[in-house]
Symmetry: C2
Subunit: 424 residues, 2 copies
């Protein structure tokens, strides 16, 4: 397609989404839920078509030399298709956030002000290889009353188009505008560049993907972006920590699923605790296959137990390893731990292990992160664990939404004011 054609395609999609959003904002809960239930049914009924379309992407992916993990994330299996349908049914079962009263008050002049939750309008979702994002995001946006524009990666285009077709069928079957959910049918970078500047029609962009994608969208676009950077999270083991609890939380936070954003990359240990208890925790980590990168004081302690560990560079404390590597540093106070976390962390999720309530409170107040834990693993930073029912991501921004984002966070609010003629 030519440049002008791509621009017009994207503009038309955005304009139609804007219209659809106004209609969707006043659509009742049961129509939205019926659409979701119909979509779940269609996904199950068309499982073989989905596998066949997905197969085209896999063939192309192999030809283009996609890595094995990329191909794995791209693949539809009967189980994954079933899980997608189940996910949509779960979203249907969640309470509708639209219309909820957030606050209300009657002013001295008698006007009654009610702050209610309403959809944002049009949300653009930009994502990379995993085609199930198409269904997850479409379902969450629909339930929260938002029109969505989906821009998936080129490696999943056949899978995404097959899914988008089912979404269209479900919308049509329930009398909703087909433009409520639109997949951009071209995957040129140019389409993306136009999309993120359509601020007249699109109110919010949520990029789901690597840091490069997110930075591109934030720097080149004119629409507010809710960024979901992955996490540099830490555990701090205080002098007053229970050693067993410290070990259990550290091992869980590092090893349970090291590739996710709420796993830890750094461990800060109070010097008093380190002298007596750290070697045992280090042994347990090494036994789980964790490579330790440590400061000199930690190295000295480990050496006494014949545990080899290489010295960490400063960059190691700011790195998101996403694997079985842990940077360790000994600190001399909770203030020292806080300073390290605020300096090197990504303001995502950080935990303190201590039996001292005052120290814990200092940590929880001063650590500038979306979620701070006292005596619990950072792995709980998750929409399901927080009781949101589903999540569209975990915001590392501070404006609008911070931490796990569910249906409420896909909404804004409006003030509805009831009077009887007041002008003063």
């Amino acid at each position: 397609m030519g440049t002008t054609d791509i621009y017009q395609l994207v503009e038309t999609i955005a304009q139609q989404a804007d219209k659809a959003a106004l209609a969707l904002a006043t659509t009742d809960t049961s129509t939205k839920n019926n659409t979701l239930l119909k979509l779940a049914e269609l996904i199950e009924a068309h499982a073989s078509t989905l596998v066949a379309e997905n197969h085209k992407d896999l063939v192309a992916g192999r030809e283009n030399g996609l890595s094995t993990p990329m191909l794995d994330r791209l693949t539809f299996t009967p189980e994954r298709i079933q899980a997608m349908a189940e996910g949509v049914r779960q979203v249907a079962a969640l309470p509708d956030p639209v219309g909820e009263t957030i606050e209300e008050q009657v002013r001295p002049n008698g006007i009654h002000i009610r702050k209610i939750r309403v959809p944002i309008g049009v949300i653009g979702i930009i994502y990379e290889s995993r085609p199930n994002v198409t269904i997850d995001c479409a379902a969450l946006c629909l339930k929260s009353g938002n029109a969505s524009i989906l821009r998936g990666g080129k490696e999943a285009i056949h899978s995404n188009q097959a899914l988008a077709h089912l979404i269209t069928l479900a919308l049509r079957a329930n009398g909703l505008p087909e433009e409520t959910v639109q997949l951009i049918p071209v995957t040129d970078r140019e389409a993306l560049t136009h999309l993120i500047k359509m601020d007249t029609y699109i109110q919010c962009i949520i990029p789901r993907g690597g840091e490069g994608l997110i930075r591109f969208v934030a720097e080149h676009g004119t629409i507010p972006v809710i960024k979901h950077y992955t996490g540099v999270c830490s555990v701090y083991i205080d002098a007053a920590a229970d050693p067993d609890m410290a070990q259990a939380i550290t091992l869980n936070a590092k090893c349970q699923r090291p590739g996710v954003c709420n796993a830890i990359e750094n461990l800060f240990v109070h010097s008093q605790f380190a002298e007596t208890h750290f070697a045992r925790i280090a042994q347990a980590l090494v036994a789980q296959g964790v490579e330790l990168r440590v400061d000199q004081r930690t190295q000295a302690i480990l050496r006494t137990q014949d545990i080899a560990a290489k010295l960490a560079t400063e960059q190691d404390y700011a790195a998101e390893f996403l694997g079985l590597i842990l940077a360790v540093k000994i600190v001399d106070s909770v203030q020292d731990a806080i300073a390290n976390i605020n300096r090197y962390g990504s303001k995502h999720s950080d935990a303190i292990v201590t039996a001292d309530a005052a120290t814990a409170q200092t940590f929880m107040t001063a650590v500038d992160s979306a979620t701070v834990y006292w005596n619990a693993s950072t792995r709980f930073t998750d929409g399901f664990e927080f009781g949101l029912g589903a999540e569209i991501g975990i915001s590392t921004d501070k404006l609008h939404a911070r931490g796990p984002m569910g249906l409420k966070e896909l909404c804004t609010y409006k003030y509805t004011v009831y009077g009887n003629g007041q002008t003063k």
Copy 2:
């Protein structure tokens, strides 16, 4: 100053603000309040210095040909200085939003999740001529625990520097970092261009000024912007409106203070109401000096009463007149009114006058604006009227904050999670 120098100056200011913000986030309420009370005292005690410094700006402004309204907005009088000090005392008297619990829950695994209000961090305020904005914004940011970077207009630089000096004295007297509030001492456009890209240190930009300034900041910056565009607001008089109420609300909303953002620019009138009652309202508007720009159907009605009104262009319905001009159009249903408002309005404040509850509800649900009114004037969209105690502006954005922004809207939240060793 050279380009490199300006960049380094702005970067240093931003870095220092980032550090100050961490300290301020854990500062107790009484220290913040004492700082504000000290500032109020200093403003009063240094009134003559402020007038002398302001005089320099006024002399330069006259030399540079500033308009009379601009010069008026720039001028410090003893009354205005007193009002600034009073404003600061009012902010001190407001409840501290920081640390408030927004929601809490205990999950089935026993972890206790508390969502609490915390400062955003560093807020950049960019504004034009009125120097009192320096004090208003510094006070609101300080009370809400945010470090602020103020970039005022060059025409007010002496006034702003004199005020900033008093702020520094108040901070110093209370042991707070002087970098808690920083005025950028140069007013080059270049400093602004660097400032709005310091996303490592600054979390939010609030531009207060004309549409050109706001667009520049949104398009060229990389920091989230909360936009305060002025308003294209409307009243819709329904078929079931009480004529006296319709007249009172319309006159108040148009005439009380036509230059502000919550005054109306458009009036939509149901055809049934218009036939019998509109001429009287039109006469009252004209008597107040309002110029009516109308559609043909309205013109025909007015002609029967010998009221002359010129035809409106399509642009008139989207215009912010900020003066005694009102665009009028007859519509045939509430849906028609809603479509016009969603098309031409700026999603700020819109009112329906009707005795019909179902019609009112349709309007309040479907009009996509920050504040929608039933039988009350749009003029109530204001931080004080909404009980916020003070406002930093009225957001026309949908993300983070919508409508009047007070102290709470200058905050974000964090999750604090309390466990007893949970890892699952």
